[in-house]
Assembly symmetry: C2
Homo-oligomer: 210 residues x 2
């Protein structure tokens, strides 16, 4: 069995799924989709992913899964151990809501397609995403007050941590100061785990060091 | 038992949850949050929803759930019949991916917070969201080719339909021509059901007729 992850080192949605695959301890193959060369819009790729986005998870039977949160939920249903979601329905909803603060509340405002449109309006793409990132991290920090143990939800990593860690990396890339000490403490505990350390953008085969 | 939905007639995320509550046949109370009067930022409301967004589902024991997709997933876990998600893990992932095309792919680009920032850049808020809506509907239509029966995923309504129908309403509001005939056919079948018809924005108590 080989799972293939079509992804890009710096894509935060790709980064989330790399962490989840690592937490599950699953073997997988890295397939590079260079979004700076628009490879996500090439016909061969859009046949796999109609939105022309990364990541895409290719299952061993050739079926494709798209969108980072649905992929992570799939991994937790198809490979239940170790869990990356709590089991109680209310806690699961809290965990998913944290993930959505990043997934729908921040990431769509900082991604390449959006910032290209901002540029076309004469906006400064180095400035535009900052407010959304900063506001989102404040909201995330407030929300984890109700859920956190050593990780975002309780005492084991979940999909909320899989979303938070890439978002903190993006925040730094956009020059947003991270003042939420609780989030930084969670990040430190995550980065001590091989699944998180190994998924970091600069550890990937297509990483470009500047 | 009374569930309370803190929501706003025209909010597409609120609209999604109203449909889901109707599909589940659950009794619930409508609590108005007028986002045009910034009531979502009032202290009383942000204590319920730290992001200052609608909707919030208040459970009968006073606990709060936020974010439309996590709320709908909660409803399906807490009240399993009738299901609003398929049962097979792969089909569930496809269903969630459709929902995310709307939830993270379109809605964050058309919502009030974003369009206010676009206005501040000198952009035209009547034009800005159109490309994201049109591109998203094209992608949605392409993705449902693999999943649809009479509804978005198979032959019963799911959270994908709960997301699609409000998005089509928003598309019309923004003046986007909907050319995807398959989506219009699904909409027609949805609107024949009381859960969808009763959740329509102009049927809500806070609706403003113009």
């Amino acid at each position: 069995m080989t799972l293939k992850l079509h992804n890009y080192w710096r894509s935060s949605a790709s980064h989330r799924v790399r962490i989840a695959l690592g937490l599950k301890g699953l073997p997988w193959e890295y397939v590079v989709v260079n979004i700076l060369k628009a490879e996500q819009h090439a016909t061969g790729y859009t046949a796999k992913n109609p939105m022309g986005q990364v990541p895409t998870l290719e299952l061993d039977d050739g079926r494709m899964l798209v969108q980072s949160l649905p992929i992570m939920e799939y991994l937790d249903e198809a490979y239940p151990e170790p869990p990356i979601m709590p089991r109680d329905p209310y806690a699961r909803a809290q965990c998913r809501a944290l993930a959505e603060i990043v997934n729908s509340g921040i990431q769509p405002l900082q991604n390449l397609k959006t910032t290209e449109q901002i540029k076309a309006l004469g906006g400064d793409v180095a400035v535009w995403p900052k407010k959304f990132i900063a506001d989102g991290l404040v909201a995330f920090a407030r929300a984890v007050e109700a859920t956190a143990g050593t990780f975002c939800v309780g005492n084991r990593p979940t999909i909320a941590d899989c979303c938070l860690i890439p978002q903190l990396a993006s925040a730094r890339r956009f020059g947003v100061a991270i003042e939420e000490t609780r989030l930084l403490a969670i990040e430190e505990r995550c980065m001590a785990l091989p699944a998180f350390a190994g998924a970091a953008p600069d550890r990937q085969p297509d990483a470009v060091r500047t």
